[in-house]
Amino acid sequence: MSFAGLFPPATRRYLVTSAVSAAFYVLSIKAISWGQPQLSGPVLWGAILVPALCIAVQLWATLRLMAQVDEFMRALLARRFIIAACLAFIVASTWGFMETFAQVEHMPGFMVYAVFWVAFCLVSPFIRTSH
């Protein structure tokens, strides 16, 4: 079965957009890490905006998927999204308290996004009803 026949159009658009944004995200981080000693000023700031834009595109694709699937899938995705976001907030703020008061190692702020998706994957098997 082809890729086109395997998924409904909305899911297909989501997967393609996600794959492209993830590829640009990884490549831009690699490029910035590699070029950081030479980059400065507006070029550096512009380069930093590329992975940030990839995250925005990925979130937009997820919200667009929610708008395009049927009501049951929308409810499932929304519940998973909200609970994963809550878990990411909890992890990030708890880590922040630990950094401030217990001198644990610093966690870069951009890791919150990865924590969110890990949480999304972890909660998804347990959220199978819309109520």
Binding site: D70, E71, F72
Partner: protein, 70 residues
Amino acid sequence: MRNTLKVLRAERAWTQNDLGERLGVSRQAVNALETEKHDPSLDLAYRIAALFDLPVEAIFHNPHRPVDQA
């Protein structure tokens, strides 16, 4: 929400996919309705009722209506 969707579907020898296509929802949504994992929106409930040519409450049990009035 208790319902007779599975019976109505079986009477017509439709698969969950068949019913989903007729209603414009996914097979997973039909399965979720039949297994009471999803309460339909009013719009979807009306679409289901129209498809089977039955009143909504003949398909979906109304938990708020006293038994003697059902």
